[in-house]
Amino acid sequence: MTARRPGRKTWWKTALGVLFTALMLFPVYWMFNVSLTRTRDLRADPPHWFPWDPTFEGYEAVLGQQLPALGTSLLIGAGCVVLTVLVAAPAGYALALLNLRGRRTLNFVLLVAQMIPAVVMAMGFYAVYVRLGLLNTVGGLIVADSTVAVPFAVLLYTAFMSGIPREMLQAARMDGAGAWRTFVSVVLPLSRNSTLTVSLFAFLWAWSDFIFASTLNRNGNLIPITLGIYNYIGNNTTQWNAIMATAVVASVPAAVLLVVAQRYVAAGVTAGAVKD
């Protein structure tokens, strides 16, 4: 099936592949194109397929108004990564290597947890936070966002750590290392790639979250960028170039991560495949 002579015979496949990719990525291109279009040209008929006469009004508006929102999103993303790794890495160790009693049940609970709709979690968190006064706080949002990542992260760590050769752990024990020392100086360094994958997804999910932000942080002073876009749509239905410019800026982390860490992305999807 796999072509043995790449080159002449497969050029049409490359052409077809480029065509498919172009079709698939057209909305992304269009977002970019609209973000550079002048307001008066937005309603041009036929539409401008290429920004020959680009404007940066939209981007100026983003930098003028949305910088705090971008900062908030960064903060929430980073907080979510830290919380997720702190909770998930030791749990993965306990599940994979320490014969935790009831680990089957715990695995099961984690799988079920991933099936609970976010809208239900949002209502539950709202009910809890309204009493505790945690609505509209960055901390509250970090915790809520992390619920998406934690079960995934524990399962990913468990899958990876159960593949660590036992000899390495026994060698550490021979040297007199306890469970904690083994975890910190053997297991964690070996799991570096899992930590990268987990961090990447925890960050991206927190960065992209809309449901929790729009329910738990609606009236906050510090709103994340997703809510910034949403409010923008509500307020300026005509300024689509500015909306799309915000969208482009909000997509930057995804683009960067895809370029820098594509193998970790693919590894996250087909998790457990992370191997050193």
Partner: protein, 326 residues
């Protein structure tokens, strides 16, 4: 975006095998070896257990509590809502929105996953044969799925705009009249479904592609020696051998499409009327979408949604277990 997490489950029974199989005998040995005490295990798992209790169990319990009381925003703060038992559930089931939301959920979910899967599989088969740039192009297919949902949803909303959208102006070139994608009750559900299919293709492509990698190449070689063409090979080899992976991909897609809120909310807010209202959207709208939050029915709808998701969830776990055994 939330489609990824359970990929863990999917892969554990295929790729993960490499990790778990050698581990099992060693694990058995460890039980006899004097290892760290069980208390150490509990200690390392403690943060997770506390986390699950505080941030999963408690909000979920509060959600059930909401659905069996009559919560107004005032009662919410004071905490003196009246207990009404299952009355809110009766209200929800009796509401005229319920059949509409159930139907929309079914259409949205089934059409989405069937097309995501078909297109994803076709692309996976296409990318299986290596050609110049194939890896790069396959990587680029991930882009839509990494973008924040609100970004994709607002882009689609503008593309499908009745007067100035690119979709309508392309269709006009083919002589199709203006379609009010998002504002007509006839097409709103179709419009959000199209956007959702686009969003789901990368996930299906990645999972199915890695499933294809596990089919040994010599099976195909034997088939082509027997004179089977590409079409025949697909139906007699690829498709049957991929069935376990397909089943899991479809079920996961189903569970995750049931929960979709962002895309629909940003594009149509479930309207016009209830024409694109799914159960998840209905719940979101009751609780957060209007000026007057109505948490009790929203929580009831949410709990119904959990039940539906869990039914398919257990089906998924059952399937996964059966595959691990075989």
């Amino acid at each position: 975006m939330t489609t990824i997490p359970t990929a863990v489950g999917t892969s554990r029974d295929r790729r993960g095998v490499a990790g778990t199989v050698p581990a099992t005998p060693a694990g058995r040995r460890r039980r006899h070896a004097p290892g760290p005490s069980r208390w150490a295990a509990v200690g390392f798992a403690a943060p997770l257990l506390v986390y699950l209790a505080l941030f999963y169990a408690y909000p979920l319990w509060r959600n059930i509590d909401l659905s069996v009381h009559d919560y107004t925003i005032r009662a919410f703060v004071q905490g003196n809502a009246e207990f009404v038992g299952l009355e809110k559930y009766a209200e929800v089931f009796g509401s005229s929105t319920f059949p509409a939301a159930l139907w929309n959920t079914a259409v949205f979910t089934i059409v989405s996953i069937v097309l995501q899967y078909s297109i994803g599989l076709a692309l996976a088969v296409f990318f299986r044969s290596s050609f110049r740039l194939s890896a790069v192009l396959r990587g680029m297919f991930l882009v839509p799925w990494l973008l924040p949902l609100i970004v994709s949803a607002s882009t689609w909303a503008w593309m499908l705009n009745s007067d100035n959208g690119i979709v309508n102006s392309v269709l006009a070139a083919f002589g199709v009249g203006q379609i009010n994608w998002l504002t007509s009750p006839d097409t709103a559900l179709l419009a959000v479904t199209i956007a959702n299919i686009w969003l789901g293709i990368p996930f299906n492509l990645v999972i199915l592609y890695s499933g294809l990698q596990n089919i040994p190449g010599d099976v195909y070689e034997a088939a082509s020696l027997d004179g089977a063409g590409a079409w025949k090979q697909f139906w007699s080899i690829t498709f049957p051998l991929l069935r376990p992976v397909s089943a899991i991909t479809l079920l996961l897609g189903l569970i995750y499409t049931l929960k979709v809120v962002d895309v629909i909310w940003v594009m149509t807010t479930g309207g016009p009327g209830t024409s694109s209202t799914t159960l998840a959207i209905w719940s979101y709208r009751e609780a957060f979408g209007t000026g007057q939050p109505d948490f009790s029915p929203a929580a009831a709808v949410g709990n119904v949604l959990i039940l539906i998701a869990l039914v398919f969830g257990f089906l998924y776990l059952q399937l996964q277990r059966r595959q691990e055994e075989s």
